[in-house]
Symmetry: C2
Subunit: 457 residues, 2 copies
């Protein structure tokens, strides 16, 4: 997967208009510095915060973007581009600057997640990939953090890969859910690429391939004496649990311990309570109950409220596609060209102009209190700036943090977000202010556009 650098592999992962606009900038000799800002316009229902993710991939891409001969030959074949522009693309590298929130940061709507500054052609061409990368990992980290929160001390494993939206999504869900507090994934390739712990149990096909369920249980326990989690719902959860007890006792006689059983269908609360009782009665308190099948934060909450006796959850499809909110209203907008702050006025889609910074205030207990979006060079008393410069002249300023370190950072930050913003249904909005200087500039730019473009006075 990593043989060819990302930016080479994906230089053409771009909307066509990025390239036609670039060609037109080139013809008009527009080479001035532009700043684009990436932000989310609205909360999906039941969300009041976001978890930043995907920055590492964006940086890898920016470091390595270049058009191959084959890419240029394809572009030439479209008949849209002049040879002079294709020659220019051949040598194009990203030479700009990036300010960004570290991965694992908590942020809110309208706040820039990252801002890219560079010659307008470079900063424009990378739009599609940057949106794609940050939107999806942030979407999943946000969704996964909700499961992590509601599950409390219970462990969560990503089980989504079979129904993620493609292969890249399967890998990114494993990464983003781990970042947001999951303990690992079933995804072996993600385990290899990202050094995430991998977990697995067994499928119904394993059970049904044996003439008897008990034979299947015994065979697996023999082959994986330290890692056996028996799937007990193939024919009937309670009958399956009784056979699992028999195998656990056989293992105990050999000095081994059955690690757990997995429930995958039916009324999870009731079944888990019944299964727990059976194991306790058999003196097998150490056997853990693992549950899977349609779990996300909402189902975890329901099953726990109903008294479900579950030690760990396999969280699958609904988290892996963020089923209740499968995309964000995310945008990458030009906010400054040369020395001129710019905006569009399209209905309901106003943009905050110019280079910006986000400042955060914390209360005495270190809990997040309020944010202020300001101009980049403002300072705000007793508030912490959140965006930092991560790339300069197309080069990383410092090494990208490891995924483990970003996960630690997320856990610390998430603990500082007050509980009321984490509730599963209709959380209140977190207070985000616009600094007076930014408001003033915003008003002035809007007024100028109304005069020059719309003929209003």
């Amino acid at each position: 997967m990593r043989h060819q650098p990302l930016g080479e592999r994906l230089a053409l992962f771009s909307d066509l208009y990025e390239l036609t606009m670039a060609a037109s900038y080139f013809e008009a000799e527009k080479f001035e510095e532009a700043t684009f800002s990436l932000f989310i316009r609205q909360y999906p229902s039941d969300r009041a915060y976001f978890v930043a993710a995907g920055l590492e991939e964006v940086l890898r891409y920016l470091e390595t973007i270049r058009f191959s001969e084959a890419d240029l030959a394809y572009l030439e074949s479209t008949g849209l581009f002049k040879p002079r522009f294709l020659d220019y693309l051949k040598d194009l590298r990203f030479t700009g600057e990036v300010y960004a929130l570290p991965e694992g940061s908590i942020f809110f709507k309208d706040e820039p997640i990252l801002e890219v500054t560079g010659p307008i052609i470079e900063a424009q061409l990378v739009e599609t990939f940057i949106i794609n990368a940050i939107n999806f990992q942030t979407l999943i980290a946000t969704k996964a953090s909700r499961s992590s929160h509601i599950a409390g001390p219970r462990r969560l494993v990503d089980f989504s890969m079979r129904r993620t939206q493609g292969v890249d999504a399967g890998l990114k869900v494993a990464r983003a859910s781990y970042l947001a507090g999951f303990i690992g994934t079933s995804n072996v390739l993600a385990g290899k690429l990202y050094e995430i712990p991998i977990y697995g149990t067994m499928a119904h096909s394993y059970i049904t391939s044996f003439e008897h369920e008990l034979d299947a249980f015994r065979a697996f326990a023999r082959d994986f004496p330290k890692n056996t989690i028996l799937l007990i719902d193939t024919y009937d959860n309670i009958v399956g649990a009784k056979k699992a007890i028999q195998v656990a006792q056989e293992m105990a006689a050999r000095g081994e311990k059955l690690r757990g059983v997995r429930l995958d269908s039916g009324d999870m609360a009731a079944i888990s309570i019944a299964v727990r009782r059976l194991f306790q009665e058999a003196g097998l308190d150490y056997v853990q109950i693992f549950a899977s099948g349609g779990f996300d934060e909402f189902k975890i909450a329901r099953v726990l409220e109903a008294g479900g006796q579950i030690d760990a959850f396999g969280v699958g499809t609904k988290m892996g596609v963020s089923a209740d909110a499968p995309y964000f209203d995310i945008a990458y907008k030009l906010v400054k060209y040369g020395t001129r702050p710019v905006m569009k006025l399209s209905t309901g889609k106003v943009t905050l102009v110019d280079k910006k910074q986000v400042f955060r205030r914390f209360d005495d207990q270190g809990q997040m209190q309020e944010d202020t979006i300001a101009l980049r060079d403002e300072t705000i008393a007793e508030a912490t700036p959140l965006l930092s410069k991560v790339m300069e002249k197309g080069q990383l300023i410092r090494p990208v943090p490891s995924l483990k370190d970003s996960r630690e950072f997320f856990l610390q930050e998430f603990a500082r977000l007050p509980e009321k913003f984490k509730v599963l249904h209709q959380p209140p909005p977190y207070p985000v202010n616009i600094s007076p200087a930014l408001q003033e500039l915003e008003g002035r730019v809007e007024h100028e556009i109304q005069v020059t473009e719309l003929g209003q006075v």
Copy 2:
């Protein structure tokens, strides 16, 4: 993207349990032939049919799956696998047989999309990838076909890539929506890889980078005299349309034709009617109106019902993530091991046993009338079998159809699906029967399990 064969790149794109089960089959010397069946258990809301897609990728994967040295080293590092099994994996190739629906087929719930037969280890290991590939492309082809249908003769272009769930999804959405009747995509890499026509207009950043909107319009028209579609909503749709008329008239004076304008926000029906009138009054009937911004089949229907004057739609995020139904309840289940038909009985998740075929009857007008799911070797009078053998001994039986040919096949098949099953809201279910022989076998296997596994008589 295609330097390394898919099956080599993605051998580890697998849930861990596929590998632990394989190791256990290996230890138990279970090498008999197994058949797995892939099917969708339920319709998402407002769906009554599916469009098969993703088969080509599955076949490319099966042809080339192999574990690299690096893959095996990673598996060894987990401590879960014995050297003897890892040696076995080193030489593993897929040697089985595949029956499948051609891409572009219309099919219904419970019907097998494909059935894989081979030594159980091989047929098991490919589960995760097969589900992932077919689920997602089928999801998108199904969603896209609904837009194609409701838009009638108006052209649709895939604009989703910036918010698809990852890079692979961006490519697959372009492919699957083209298969389902779209005319092309904004996705340049998909254009290159799949030979799909590519389309583009311009972004707000292009407009705002110029001091005046009119300057931007003129620059683009000069650079792309044959392919200019002006985005007119940056400051105000109507003011923008008037400037576009000015540029269209300047182009006409040079013997050029403005191709179109794009609307991207606001009340699309009302704005398109007003913009059409302005262009007609200016004698510019040939200028097309292109609309984008939150379109899927539901919004297209609303805008057209309100009299929207739109020639082409950019269909983006909501199609590209299948927002109203972002996954299918799809499963790949063992249905036969050796000579024994098998099933699980898990609550609400019963499987149709054994190797199967789907037969379809058409009425006098060639319209689809009813389907019957039967055992593979049954014949049903005056009905057409839908699954055909596409792979034998791990090799393709015939070349995979081109994407263009599959698109043609889809268009023909879709025309044979009666209108009532295509309505956007609450379509009736299409009739799907189970053959008496399959029903009888199903009952017998279920009874045997109840006796042997659950102790019922």
